[in-house]
């Protein structure tokens, strides 16, 4: 299969997965008290920059393959609002993964701290404060974002459903994406990188 055709096929498959996830109306509520306790501490934004590290819940959102394109289609935003990182599937096939960080703050966070695209926001946002990772043996593991002030309220039913969702996606996620997700633990995007020596 030609690279272009493969990309079209992969994109269609991922779009279908996102549609399925968002169409699931039985998802349990997380019970998180995001507005009351957190003031959107996990949404990368300009005001987060001067925060002490212990106040920041998560300064980076990493989108799944083709999730950037999916959100662009749903919201009409352009690629320029995302920071894009490459992951190579083959020597000649590259995926571009969208992220949001403190250098590319979330364009969807409203002044009232509500999410402007809550109906189809990124799975990484939906999943937080649960953080998936792939251990060296290749199995999924879960940790919790300790700086989430609302973590004590996290609903077990919601956790189970999120784990189930990710387990369904895991066979389709390239290993390189997990490497990018791990890198995001060491990246905030701010201060902006300098191009000078």
């Amino acid at each position: 299969m030609k690279n272009e055709d493969l990309l079209i096929k992969l994109k269609a498959e991922w779009f279908e997965r996102f549609d399925d996830i968002l169409a699931n109306k039985t998802t349990a509520l997380s019970n998180l008290k995001c507005l009351e306790l957190c003031e959107a501490r996990c949404c990368p934004r300009v005001g987060m920059r001067p925060m002490a590290p212990e106040k920041i819940a998560s300064p980076v959102v990493v989108l799944l393959p083709f999730e950037m394109e999916y959100i662009m289609g749903k919201t009409g935003v352009g690629r320029e609002v995302f920071r894009i990182w490459p992951i190579d599937l083959t020597p000649s096939l590259r995926l571009e993964i969208g992220t949001l960080d403190l250098g590319k703050p979330c364009p969807f966070l409203q002044d009232d701290r509500l999410c402007g695209i809550h109906a189809h926001n990124p799975l990484d946002c939906r999943t937080f404060p649960m953080l998936p990772s792939l251990n060296p043996a290749g199995s999924m593991e879960w940790t919790l974002g300790e700086n989430c002030p609302s973590i004590a309220f996290l609903s077990p039913a919601f956790s189970d459903q999120m784990k189930h969702t990710w387990q369904g996606l895991e066979p389709h996620i390239p290993r390189a994406w997990w490497d990018l997700y791990a890198f995001a633990d060491h990246w905030t995007g701010y201060p902006e990188p300098s191009h000078a020596d």
Binding site: P86, I87, D88, L89, P91, P136, A176, D179, H195, D197
Partner: protein
């Protein structure tokens, strides 16, 4: 912390330098055995054993041997980049019978300790760790090669390695060295690689890794590429976009 000269299972570390021709010979022999495809880079090993070879003006180089049961089983070549706060791990390798015994992890720990010493020596504080270039399994031409590449990458992941999302191409050789001529390297070509940071404790605690510093340090200070080289531009293209030099 001081370097542990004694490792798991009775292994021991020996420092190879210009004053120990026998050790240098042993290092060369082991290098040829462990990295047969890279035997043309033996002059690089010899240069690194000098510590501060004139062709490497921005690095302080180290060559180590690991002995076990009276035999040399491991070789390590790495450098501290004196103009930055991190190092470059050029080679780490063991004979097949010495693999899987925890020697690699121990050697990585000792490397990080040495780099901390070097950072103090050169007045740059504590080291952030070191960069390694690792073959990408997706470039392998055979299944055997792919498995070998996957094993190497997995080793670095297990050592806490952070795979940096920059499209990195490994130059064939450091520019302008006086110990290898271009004809010696005929047939070699630059290869796409993963650029991996093996972080020290300090490096691991950083919230915002400076990818530009890493890319510039490796390309300009280690490989001595000219400013604005295509490899540098490509590596930083996603990060800097139009601001790239």
């Amino acid at each position: 912390m001081p370097i542990e000269m004694n490792g798991p299972g009775g292994a021991s570390l020996s420092i190879v330098n210009g004053s120990s021709p026998e050790l240098l010979q042993a290092a060369c022999q082991l290098f040829e055995q462990v990295f047969p495809e890279d035997r043309r880079y033996l002059p690089y090993l010899r240069a690194c054993a000098q510590g501060n070879h004139p062709s490497h003006p921005n690095t302080y180089d180290h060559v180590w041997l690991v002995g076990l049961n009276g035999q040399w089983v491991g070789v390590r070549i790495f450098s501290y980049i004196t103009t930055r706060t991190f190092g470059h791990g050029a080679y780490i390798g063991f004979t097949p019978q010495a693999r899987g015994a925890g020697l690699g992890t121990w050697l990585v720990e000792q490397t990080l300790r040495q780099l901390d010493d070097d950072a103090r020596k050169f007045g740059t504080g504590k080291s952030l760790g070191y960069l390694v270039e690792v073959e990408r399994p997706i470039d392998a031409e055979t299944e055997e090669e792919r498995k070998k590449d996957e094993r190497r990458l997995q080793f670095h992941r297990q050592c806490g390695g952070i795979i940096l999302p920059v499209p990195f191409v490994e130059p064939v050789m450091i520019e302008g060295v006086d110990y290898i001529s271009p004809t010696d390297l005929q047939g070699e070509s630059p290869r796409p690689m993963h650029l991996v940071l093996i972080p020290s404790e300090r490096g691991n605690s950083l919230q915002n890794l400076n990818l530009v510093d890493f890319v510039h340090g490796l390309y300009y200070d280690v490989y001595r590429l000219p400013r604005g080289h295509t490899f540098v531009k490509n590596a930083l293209s996603y990060l800097l976009g139009g601001k790239n030099e």
